[in-house]
Point group: C2
Chain length 253, copies 2
């Protein structure tokens, strides 16, 4: 059966995540599958590159599905965007190799975490950023983040509820930046943490950000990242930063 | 009585505008006045620099009010942001001259209109941009916009329902730009129209944008702006572009 790759943008605020066991909120996967079924008139299994959590967003989530339908791709994209809720958008669609699997074929993923760091909140970024009103030492956060680069056992940054055995991952890129949108919105004062890795543990980005924020605020001393990493104990890392600041930016194959 | 100037950010989606006669939706003015009254324990009249319409946003709306309260400004700002709904934020507050009037003292205002110009919609910019999926000729729109620069009778771009007599205004700056956010969000493809003027007629920005879009799409021929301006007839201009793309950026004093 022909295999299709779709790239998705979504505002995760309203969803129980990509996939959920039991929840009163809809999941992204079931919402999109339902619309695909309606358009293609057959049951479709949508495989996502990974399960984004409840409230987490995506600018470049990738998923794939197989179908025998002969519908032209452009028409399929238009139909999907016509029928999907306004907080989900299909930005790209294309035929993929028969053995392409959005999860197993992925070489790396990039997440971005956005912190609104100013004394007063934003009327616009309510669901797209973590509002943190206290001064953060950006330089120190950058220095501490660099320690995480490379192959490490990230057990300290993995949710304790996770049952995964192998907690070794490779961070290929980590950047902590002052992000100034090129608009009149000069007062926004955003700090973004972008992490590209070959894989992520449960809550890994949010736990890393939570730790960097504690360091930036001065509640954890310099050198904490290294120490937390070495001791392999979730209790030593900072709190889990809120889901609303997190977005899956890109999946590389 | 001491006079205070506040700068506001708001997502106008949920409001009947800054001020409205009758509406089942709240207005921004009454929402903020209510909170001021609660904090200052006296009735306060809030004067806005202008009435943004229902659904129109602001990044830099300015308003002023008089009070005898001795509350420190920083504390007042914190209290306001603590009690106001999440879609309104006070970004600045300061004491102003006794005769400062947010509307009459204004030298110019700047509005920005945002168009999302790509074939598929955005999961995020649902309320902050006008989604226009057809190709627009940016260069031609820029050329046609320049015609509006300077002092003109903008009657053609004024809502016909308006009762205003003097329809002459001066546009100090008008720019039509490709706006590429400096993020991974490269696919956004936004077009922004920014207009600074000494004053605006009712629906003036939205009618100018509606006209420029018709020109950019090729439905109005080159030279239309000049012709529409000269003939002083609202019926010749393009349709009123939707409120959700419009934001009051700045008020200069």
């Amino acid at each position: 059966m022909p295999n299709f790759k779709i790239t998705l943008e979504y505002d995760g605020s309203r969803y129980a995540g990509w996939q959920a066991q039991k929840s009163k909120f809809p999941t992204l996967q079931e919402t999109i599958e339902k619309v695909l079924r309606r358009i293609l008139r057959e049951k479709v299994k949508l495989i996502g590159s990974g399960r984004t959590d409840a409230g987490v967003h995506a600018l470049g989530q990738v998923a794939n599905f197989k179908t025998n339908s002969k519908i032209p791709l452009e028409k399929l994209q238009r139909a999907l965007n016509g029928l999907l809720p306004a907080d989900i958008s299909v930005t790209k669609i294309g035929e993929a190799a028969k053995d392409f699997h959005s999860r197993f074929s992925a070489k790396s993923k990039t997440y971005r975490y956005t912190i609104l760091n100013r004394p007063y909140r934003s009327a616009f970024l309510r669901k797209g950023a973590y509002f943190y009103p206290y001064l953060l030492d950006l330089k120190l956060m950058q220095k501490e983040a660099r320690v995480l680069l490379g192959k490490h056992d990230f057990k300290s940054f993995c949710a304790s509820a996770s049952s995964v055995k192998d907690t070794v991952r490779t961070i290929k890129r980590i950047s902590v930046k002052h992000f100034i949108p090129n608009t009149e919105h000069r007062t926004l004062n955003l700090i973004t943490v972008e992490i590209e890795a070959d894989g992520f543990l449960y809550n890994m980005v949010r736990n890393i950000v939570g730790t960097l924020v504690e360091i930036g605020r001065g509640r954890f001393p310099e050198g904490s990242t290294k120490k937390v990493l070495r001791l392999k104990n979730r209790k030593l890392a900072g709190p889990t930063a809120p889901a609303r600041g997190l977005a899956l930016l890109k999946v590389k194959y």
